[in-house]
């Protein structure tokens, strides 16, 4: 058999085999790389999901205090119960709090986004006097933490008799939304070519008509993103609502959460977690519905 091939042919065959081996080697490397990168990604995913899991599992436990808990409680077990949830829903005015929160968030989101759309369009397309200065001021305003303004606002709003009212919270909430959203919308609209609104003007619209009927629908992704941001702030706010609202009939979810989870001596972590889950559901739905817009919105806000 061996003698069938000349020496030259043997060398050639050897080379062919080597090439074949090399090719396989690179193929294996590629597979290994894929496995390694997936392992890393799975690790990161676990890291991101774990807090949510932790909150959900805690909400299902009926452990009195942290000292009575063990690591085993992190796994699903037979002691799990819905008692925390039923407590919140049936022993407390949860739905009144939810109603209050929704009135505040929906109203301030609507007002804030409407104002941001008009101001964002104006900042991008019209010759606003001192435009640059106004933009810098918005930027500077967004640097201050919201909590810093609680005390001055408190004194100011008590003079206006706005404490313990819906309006007293809607005003600062929508103002806060305008600060971020104006900038976001302005940046997005800057990236749209002017020929769209010019075409609309040629088609018979006024300049204002062209801006609202053409640019607003085109800026939908950033407007949805701004709206979700504007919703999230008031929805989870405790600092401002906690100070401004003292009458229980006006409690928001965030205040209610603090109220129900305070035990006589220790913090009631099970209830606290259950409340977090309940509060998280609307946000979860919101993100799920607007997923398409939010992904592009988050990448937009990176370029700020």
């Amino acid at each position: 058999m061996e003698n069938k091939y000349s020496k030259k042919e043997k060398v050639q065959r050897r080379e062919e085999v080597d090439v074949f081996r090399m090719n396989n080697y690179y193929k294996n490397i590629r597979t290994l790389k894929k496995i390694a990168s997936h392992l890393v990604l799975i690790l990161f995913a676990l890291f991101a999901v774990f807090p949510i899991y932790y909150v959900v599992i805690t909400s299902l436990n009926s452990i009195g205090s942290l000292s009575a808990s063990s690591l085993a409680d992190l796994l699903p077990n037979t002691k799990m119960t819905l008692v925390n949830y039923s407590q919140i829903i049936f022993q407390h005015p949860f739905f009144i709090w939810l109603r209050n929160t929704l009135i505040l968030t929906v109203a301030s989101t609507f007002i804030g986004v409407m104002l941001s759309i008009t101001s964002g369009l104006a900042m991008s397309r019209l010759n606003v006097p001192a435009k640059r200065m106004l933009l810098y001021m918005l930027l500077i305003l967004s640097l201050f933490p919201f909590t810093m303004m609680v005390i001055p606002f408190y004194f100011m709003f008590s003079n206006f008799h706005l404490l313990n009212t819906y309006l007293g919270l809607i005003i600062p909430y929508s103002a806060g939304a305008v600060i971020y959203s104006t900038y976001l919308i302005k940046n997005y609209v800057d990236g749209l070519p002017t020929s769209y609104e010019e075409a609309a003007q040629m088609d018979g619209l006024s300049k204002a008509g062209a801006l609202f009927r053409i640019l607003v629908p085109m800026a939908r992704p950033v407007i949805v993103f701004a709206a979700v941001l504007a919703f999230m702030g008031p929805y989870t706010d405790y600092a401002l609502a906690g100070q401004f609202i003292s009458s229980p009939s006006l409690y928001t979810l965030a205040i209610g959460m603090y109220y129900v989870s305070q035990g006589s001596i220790t913090m009631n972590y099970g209830t606290y977690a259950a409340f977090s889950v309940l509060m998280g559901i609307p946000i979860f739905i919101l993100f799920f519905v607007f997923q398409k817009y939010l992904v592009s919105g988050f990448s937009l806000s990176m370029y700020k």
Binding site: Y196, E198, A199, Q201, G204, L205, R220
Partner: protein
């Protein structure tokens, strides 16, 4: 209906940018092309006509009505943009119907009109698609449809073919001309592509530095350019421009070019005088012969229907165009001379055309 008249239109952006003293009349049903290099003010002129830019000076009339200060929507002018500017959130049908919707036309009429226009443009099967889901050529048609549907008095187009690939561009050029004939709408068309100008235009004007340089039929632009700018801008490859001198001595007028003397007929010059000129020769009027300017063949480009040969003469490059190869090989020396009946002479100082087709041009500037 739609006759347009621009009188002394000017718009100054500062730093010598803008448009200055633009005058022209476009007749009803005419296809008028504004041609020029980028930054020459052609798009600004179009935007002033559209009302998207306001003129600092001058007056503008559409059908004898002054519209200088009208907002765009009141002008009854439609425009096709370079990027088409189709509203991305509307379907093709909604895009085409949009101007009618703003006019508050009844829904049934809107549908009928849109259908009719879409049929003419061959896009009636795309009506329910979004602009993002159709090809560039189809988008172009939709943009045309949106402009045509309301039967405007005037139709503006800003480099509408520049976003298409070469093949589609040629096809759309033919189509545009056909559509314009069919609808008989007065059209002002802006382009930097002189082929588009020559194939589409009834008349064309060339702009440079914000001013109209020449306004004529497209073939006249090629055959008798007003100055060196037009001469080199129109035509591809551009006209050969060679510094030369006209001399009158011994009762003979001679053109001295690169050391060669060429007898010149009918050139008005006093005996014993000299005049600095630029010799302009189209590539197809450049001939190879036994004597003339000594040149060296550097590059041959064969594009099938014609052959371009690039010669080196000192620092100058001279292009020659013919339907077939001259038989020369690269690196070979030969003699070039201009076709005496076709050569053009331009004034050295002003760049204006002074001599063409064997005689002096009327009203040509005399010696500087």
């Amino acid at each position: 209906m739609g006759s347009l008249s621009l009188q002394n239109i000017g718009r100054n952006f500062g730093k010598n940018k803008g448009v200055f003293d633009v005058n022209f009349e476009v007749e009803n049903g005419e296809f008028f092309v504004i041609l020029g290099p980028s930054g020459c003010g052609k798009t600004t002129t179009l935007r002033i006509i559209a009302g998207l830019e306001t003129a600092d000076t001058g007056h503008m009339f559409l059908d004898d009505r002054e519209i200088t200060n009208f907002p765009p929507r009141m002008r009854n002018i439609a425009m096709v943009f370079q990027n088409y500017a189709l509203y991305p959130f509307m379907t093709v049908k909604q895009n085409i119907q949009f101007p009618l919707k703003i006019m508050k036309m009844s829904k049934a009429d809107q549908d009928a009109k849109a259908e009719e226009v879409a049929k003419m443009l061959g896009i009636d099967d795309l009506m329910e698609r979004k602009p993002g889901e159709i090809s560039g050529g189809q988008r172009q048609r939709v943009a045309l449809g949106r402009a045509l549907v309301r039967e405007p008095a005037l139709f503006l187009m800003d480099e509408p073919l520049s976003n298409l690939d070469a093949k589609l561009r040629t096809q759309m050029r033919v189509e545009l001309k056909r559509l314009q004939r069919e609808f008989n709408t007065t059209t002002v068309y802006v382009t930097h592509d002189q082929v588009e100008a020559t194939t589409l235009a009834d008349r064309a004007c060339i702009m440079n530095g914000g001013r109209v340089v020449q306004l004529e039929g497209p073939l006249e632009l090629y055959n008798s350019p007003a100055d060196t700018f037009v001469a080199t801008f129109v035509g591809d490859p551009p006209m050969n421009m060679i510094p030369a001198k006209v001399k009158a001595a011994n009762n003979e007028v001679m053109l001295e070019v690169l050391g060669q003397l060429i007898p010149l007929k009918n050139f008005t010059i006093e005996e014993g005088q000299e005049r600095e000129v630029k010799l302009g020769v189209r590539p197809e009027d450049t001939l190879v012969g036994d004597q003339g300017i000594e040149a060296n063949l550097a590059v041959i480009q064969n594009v099938g229907k014609s052959v371009y040969e690039y010669f080196k003469v000192g620092d100058l490059t001279i292009v020659k165009q013919d339907t077939k190869n001259s038989g020369l090989v690269i690196g070979q020396n030969c003699y070039l001379f201009p076709d005496p009946a076709k050569l053009m002479l331009f004034d050295e100082a002003s760049g204006k055309l002074i001599y063409k087709g064997g005689k002096m041009v009327k009203n040509a500037p005399t010696t500087a």
